[in-house]
Symmetry: C2
Subunit: 332 residues, 2 copies
């Protein structure tokens, strides 16, 4: 039986900071990810990819708004669905190119995620989406369209939507069948298209499920061996931004929870990743890894000490292994 890894890939890995998100930029960024995934396949792993979609949904929201006098605006969950098509296409083509004809299959599935309408997140929207607005525009949208708006990190106002917990992945049995036949599967993009369930009726809702938590749900439900959370840094750091800053090679779930409670992992950054990692390891006894695209594959195979990312493993004993900050660069 091949082992299975679920790889969560930030939307910012496809449209990087400072880029506007042209076709050429997104294609170039997808190639780096695709090469890493193909190395995982060659090492004998089944791979499922969960991509983020923040920058892509943001651009679609601007386009909807600018053309509203000519074309009806679509609900947010449809914009999410559109990005599953667009990024599914992008990643599929990048994987075929990187795979050199050796992948048994590559397939992107339009994936829906059931969320609970009673989730407290709906009463307190926190996830900023779409473009920055000036205060006047923000207030008008709030009163005309019922949007919740809020200031985002002092850079202006944005629409805020609920970020409920992932519940059930509607297409899970189909995804499992595709993984079992050895295809690289792209699924639950952007956290999945959020729907609420009433009997057998599924209705789209304007919300955003965190893609790292969605990847955890997918990994747990599939019984994956590893959840890999790909981010912009090779390893999780403690006391980031202070003279005591240090990289972590491995920690247990109890340690991770302790560090989180001590405020080591801010929301909007490492917070959701560490929550997903801890949840996965506690639920399955498997391993979670946090690293960047460059170290994704060596982390999975178990390379030499220092050459890999941060592993989160089961257990309560204090085993936090601190590694010298230069080791990743030296070994990579």
């Amino acid at each position: 039986m091949p082992r299975t890894v679920v790889v969560a890939l930030g939307g910012n890995a496809i449209t990087r900071s400072g880029e506007t998100g042209t076709h050429a930029e997104q294609t170039a960024n997808a190639r780096a990810m695709a090469r890493a995934v193909c190395r995982m396949r060659e090492a004998g792993w089944n791979v499922v990819i969960v991509h983020g979609n923040g920058p892509q949904v943001g651009n679609l929201a601007i386009q909807q708004e600018e053309a509203a006098h000519r074309v009806p605006e679509m609900p947010l969950f449809w914009l999410g669905a559109m990005t599953e098509g667009q990024l599914g296409c992008l990643i599929t083509l990048a994987l075929h190119e990187a795979g050199g004809g050796r992948l048994p299959g590559v397939v992107a599935v339009v994936t829906h995620m059931v969320v609970d309408p009673a989730d407290p997140a709906f009463a307190r929207p926190t996830k900023p989406i779409g473009p920055f607005l000036d205060e006047e525009t923000a207030q008008r949208q709030a009163s005309e369209r019922g949007w919740t708006v809020g200031e985002d990190a002092g850079r202006g106002y944005r629409r805020l939507v609920a970020s409920p917990e992932p519940g059930r992945i509607v297409e899970i049995d189909d995804i499992r069948a595709l993984v079992d036949r050895g295809s690289v599967v792209v699924a639950a993009g952007g956290g999945g298209i959020p729907v609420v369930q009433d009997g057998h009726v599924l209705t789209g809702v304007d919300a955003v499920v965190d893609k790292d938590l969605a990847a955890e749900k997918l990994a747990s439900t599939l019984g994956a061996d590893v959840l890999m959370l790909v981010t912009g840094v090779p390893r999780v750091m403690l006391d980031y931004g202070t003279p005591q800053a240090r990289e972590v090679g491995e920690m247990t779930t109890d340690e991770a929870l302790g560090h989180a409670a001590a405020g080591q992992f801010p929301e909007g950054s490492m917070g959701p990743k560490m929550r997903a990692a801890t949840r996965f390891v506690q639920a399955t006894g498997g391993t979670a890894v946090v690293t960047d695209v460059e170290h994704a594959c060596s982390s999975l195979e178990g390379g030499p000490p220092g050459a890999v990312g941060t592993r989160i493993v089961p257990g309560g004993s204090v085993t936090t292994r601190i590694v010298p900050p230069s080791s990743v660069g030296a070994a990579s």
Copy 2:
């Protein structure tokens, strides 16, 4: 073994003539289609759905254009990919609602279609896409962006793109695995995302594969029993718009080819449907059906004479069965 039907559904069945394509309109239209598909499932058929995307791509093209000063415009094949996500979501949710929890699975696959870069269609673009333009704008886009533009039925100018023949469906093995497990599969939406192949590298191209011909390719490759081409009328007509107009209940492939050669099936209307139907029956010995959503299921089960659409069957003998025009209404 359950039999398999591939259902090709026009983009105009989701956004009807005179509608602007709001979320509410598209959802209501999808429900009628979903009820028909669920009746097919209940009658024991595996169902694959190929949707069109003309109105939806048109709206996205307008949105891209209106926001071009703020957000990079995306290539046409990505707009097609976006509609596979959006309409995949729409149709999936409609099927779950209509299925009442009795469907074993519903899944939309982001599908790519390999086309031949030497296809003569690339030298002579004929497929109008996107919004109508005035002559000045059309000429400017032609010179600035290398678009081919042309007048569309006296209503203004539009961008014209190539409509090459469908070649190979990249995800065919994955689609087959999903059909085999009994899921209703949405695939090759909008004719599939067109790509050209160079070795193992697939590159998106700005073209539109006819969705009826794409459905035929999918049906032939899957070994489907029936190709159903759903359109706005219950039956194919001969001498349409003349006093001799009459509905056809059944015709052979030879007859269909003869009628086509005599100009009975105009391009942009029944032409591609009859070409797809004839091609499928000749390639597989199966049956093709042309009808509307209302008669789709009774056509498939073999209802009483007069209650069904137009069947295209193998053979050369003259068996064209003309039926009284009132029979469909009376039996429906």
